[in-house]
């Protein structure tokens, strides 16, 4: 098999990034009309939509919990999101990711305010480029905020990993496939806690520590971008409402 070089002689990565550099991120809040909350993320070539419905009455009724809302989460990849067509039926991977994403977001939500209700989170990966679960969490957390659901904090996601023996941040698709390890993390910066932590590959204890610190630091940066994205949307809303107030009152015909 052809040897793929993932680092060049200057120590830069295949897409020209430094070891601890994030791919370009774009976040948008409130882009769907029907959902109670929604967000869109572009992270590298990842293009992911997240939507939130709820809190709404739990259906079917037997899933309702007496002391808190049931959180439901579906992570799904579009058939056209990958190189080869992916069957639209949920795979075992998607079922596992739906679970770990739910467990990453659930600690951030004050679900005890909504007994007998559900809060539904839908994540659709339109284009996948490594790190979809982390980008999905970043978007879903924004969608939850956009839906006005009481939250302790925003959750930001980012992976670190290892290529050619070096710990690197935010693996690209090629690095994920050919690299030595992948460590997806979801983190809440203000409370300094991890909601999602997975790993596959091979790392020493020291490499793990270094990679975890790198991913956590990146989550802090992404968290600031999330706040900015919310500010962008709600700042505009505020300006609009202020503009309306300032407009002269329509003349009343005598």
């Amino acid at each position: 098999m052809e040897e793929v070089r993932l680092l060049d002689k200057n120590g830069l990565r295949v897409d020209g990034r430094r070891l601890d550099e994030l791919r370009p991120l774009k976040l948008e809040v409130g882009i769907l009309d029907k959902a109670d909350g929604s967000a869109y993320i572009e992270h590298g070539k990842n293009k992911i939509l997240a939507a939130v419905y709820g809190p709404r009455e739990a259906q079917p009724r037997h899933i309702a919990l007496a002391d808190r809302a049931v959180l439901r989460c579906r992570y799904h990849m579009a058939p056209f999101s990958t190189e080869e067509r992916k069957s639209p039926a949920p795979s075992r991977r998607e079922l596992e990711l739906s679970k770990v994403i739910r467990e990453a977001l659930e600690p951030s939500i004050m679900s005890e305010y909504f007994p007998r209700a559900t809060i539904d989170i839908f994540i659709e990966v339109l284009q996948a480029d490594a790190g979809t679960r982390c980008a999905g969490i970043t978007a879903a957390s924004l969608a939850l905020a956009d839906a006005g659901i009481p939250m302790r904090e925003l959750v930001a996601g980012c992976a670190a990993g290892k290529v050619e023996g070096k710990v690197v941040l935010d693996l690209s698709d090629l690095e994920d496939k050919k690299g030595d390890a992948d460590l997806p993390v979801a983190f809440m910066p203000k409370s300094n806690v991890i909601g999602l932590l997975q790993m596959d590959g091979s790392m020493t204890e020291d490499e793990f520590k270094q990679a975890l610190d790198m991913a956590v630091d990146a989550c802090r940066r992404i968290y600031e971008m999330q706040r900015e994205a919310l500010r962008q949307k709600y700042h505009l809303v505020k300006e609009e409402s202020e503009a309306k107030e300032e407009a002269p009152a329509p003349e009343v015909k005598q």
């Binding site: 919990l65 770990v100 600690p107 806690v193 909601g195 932590l197 020493t204 520590k209």
Partner: protein, 271 residues
């Protein structure tokens, strides 16, 4: 779709008892916080399987079987055999298990065990190729949970490893793209021995090998799988709670040292 489960049906008072005793650094069954329950491993209990292992971890009982069959390789790995791990949470094992297709818990367990075996390169899959691109051996690891008294991932991981190290197949030559089996028996080509250690956080204490009643009051868990060279090969956080980065680092360190005992215990059973 993944959804929040019903609370465990443990009385609040009992939950409090478990939490309080762990906060004092003790446990209901008088183990230390980092101690495993008595572990019994029996290899080769199913004669019709290529390999098998039964693991008793306290009252938790898990059986794993390995079957080796012939199949078609994946397109991106034409020269390699195939590993498949599946887990069945059979309804006899717990009042909360139901018959039917695998739910997210059994899928998660199977995938965590799978990652440990795959990422540590435990099986030398390149030695299981018959005709490149056309025919390879497929190794099926099927995990059966028979009695659920907590810490299923660790018990399942050890059962899977035990079944793999005990697995035997006929030596073979390849003629015209088909295997010709000889009488001589060989073990599966094993290169590494992954062990999964799951740490469970209960309020602010971290314990190993939780029993079911301890698991029912957990904040969250973190599974760390390490290989024979003390390298971390797989991790999985589960549960609705959260961990600090320092706790995660501490757990990795604990897992590395703890896994050595368990690994040598399994390997000592291989004759």
């Amino acid at each position: 779709m993944s959804l929040t489960h019903q609370h465990s049906p443990v009385a609040k008072l009992e939950q409090r008892t478990v939490v309080d005793i762990i906060a004092k650094g003790k446990r209901l069954d008088e183990r230390g916080t980092q101690d495993y329950r008595p572990l019994t491993i029996t290899l080769g209990i199913i004669e019709k399987a290529n390999g098998s292992a039964q693991v008793y971890l306290g009252k938790t009982k898990v059986v794993a079987g390995v079957k080796v069959e012939i199949g078609t390789p994946f397109q991106d790995t034409p020269n390699e055999g195939i590993l498949t791990v599946n887990a069945e949470f059979v309804p006899m094992a717990s009042p909360t298990f139901e018959a039917g297709p695998p739910d997210e818990n059994s899928i998660e367990l199977a995938r965590v065990v799978d990652r440990g075996i795959r990422e540590s390169k435990a099986i030398d899959l390149s030695k299981l190729c018959i005709d490149p691109g056309k025919k390879v051996f497929m190794v099926f690891v099927d995990i059966y949970i028979l009695d659920h008294d907590g810490n299923l991932i660790d018990a399942a991981g050890m059962a899977a490893l035990g079944a793999l190290v005990s697995a035997k197949m006929h030596e073979f030559d390849v003629k015209n793209g088909a295997p010709v089996f000889k009488d001589k028996i060989m073990p599966l080509p094993m290169k590494n021995y992954p062990i999964a250690i799951t740490a469970t956080k209960i309020e602010n204490s971290i314990i190993l090998d939780p029993s079911l009643e301890e698991e029912q009051v957990m904040t969250c868990r973190l599974t760390v799988t390490t290989d024979k060279d003390d390298r971390v090969v797989a991790m999985q956080k589960g549960g609705l709670g959260v961990l600090t980065p320092d706790e995660a680092k501490q757990i990795v360190s604990t897992a590395i040292s703890k896994s050595r005992d368990l690994r040598s215990k399994i390997l000592s059973k291989v004759n």
